[in-house]
């Protein structure tokens, strides 16, 4: 079986289990406050790491500085101007495409 299908199946099953765990196992009960708080901090930690790796990550590990950085900067400006999600993505893509075209 290919790496792709193993990933799709394992991630799919794991996600289904994670989503169903609460409603199946823990009826009207919440985890200890500190565990709950740690879980709530997982999303910002991982999303921030993804921003970094998706912007600066090279093809085979390491760093690569390329037009993605300009795209992210443009997207961040759009976010600061309270642009809707879709516009932020579009601005980032267009900026990166333009920089790549010029460079």
């Amino acid at each position: 079986m290919s790496a792709v299908w193993i990933t799709v199946i394992v991630v799919g099953l794991a996600t289904i289990a994670v989503k169903a765990a609460g409603p199946l196992l823990v009826a009207a009960r919440t985890p200890p406050p500190r565990a709950q708080s740690a879980l709530e901090h997982l999303a910002p930690a991982l999303l921030a790491a993804l921003v970094v790796t998706q912007t600066l990550g090279g093809g085979n590990g390491g760093f690569a500085i390329d037009p993605r950085l300009a795209g992210l900067a443009a997207g961040a400006i759009a976010l600061l101007l309270r642009a809707p999600l879709l516009l932020v993505i579009t601005v980032a893509a267009v900026a990166a495409a333009l920089v790549r075209l010029i460079a």
């Binding site: 799919g12 709950q36 930690a45 790491a49 997207g75 495409a97």
Partner: protein
């Protein structure tokens, strides 16, 4: 027999499944667009046409799917992709706990409804009294699932028309997407701290490890939330 007096507090305004669909419609447009983006990214990461669609239907979690596909595309291993994606989706466990309190019915029904939990549907389903409205959750979740999976299918086919996703700047759309998803999450100081720590850990490890490992290591930054306040 006398009727019991109606002493219960009035129910909050009853919402229908359709209300959930309506509430999610604007973000549903974005879900279709991101679904297309995921389809394109998945193809450029070497996935077949079917795999991304199956993934959208079963995993139904944008950032985890983008992470898994981009790690595979960047040459990261299966284990790295799976761990990063599962870690990204662990937050649905916490959301599931909050949803559990309002779900009734047989176990398979509760498990099925729980599959409709994503960031957006969960956010839309929040009621003023701090509880979850299951009708809003189901309506919003179904619309987002259809939009996301349909968009993915479109993207896997449009990927052939788009010779080079990078020439369209699509590779920059992904970090911008994660930044946009991160943005509303860091209002609280400790969550901002977790985000900064996650970014620093990733930056520090990137020169030394394979693709994906820095992301997994960055998850340790969530322990900031476990401190005694």
């Amino acid at each position: 027999m006398r009727r019991l007096p109606d002493s219960q507090p009035p129910e909050p305004t009853r919402r229908s499944y359709l209300d959930g669909v309506r509430a999610a419609a604007p973000i549903g447009v974005a879900a279709v667009a991101f679904g297309v983006s995921f389809g394109v990214l998945a193809r450029s990461a070497g996935m077949s046409r079917l795999a991304p669609v199956v993934m959208s239907l079963t995993t139904f979690g944008g950032s985890a799917q983008f992470a898994a596909a981009s790690i595979l595309g960047a040459g990261g291993g299966v284990a790295t992709a799976v761990v990063a994606a599962v870690l990204l989706n662990l937050r649905y466990g916490a959301m599931g706990l909050s949803v559990a309190t309002v779900l009734t019915g047989p176990w398979w029904q509760r498990a099925l409804i729980a599959q409709l939990i994503v960031d957006e549907s969960w956010a839309i389903a929040q009621r003023d009294d701090g509880r979850i409205d299951r009708h809003l959750l189901v309506g919003a979740g179904l619309l987002l699932l259809v939009g996301w999976t349909g968009g993915t299918a479109i993207g896997t086919f449009a990927g052939d028309l788009v010779a080079d996703p990078e020439s369209l700047g699509l590779d920059a759309a992904f970090p911008a997407l994660f930044l946009a998803l991160l943005w509303p999450q860091v209002g609280e100081r400790s969550r901002l701290l977790a985000a900064v720590a996650g970014a620093v850990i990733a930056l520090a490890l990137m020169p030394f490890t394979g693709a994906g490992v820095p992301i997994v290591a960055a998850s340790l930054a969530c322990l900031i939330g476990a401190r005694r306040s």
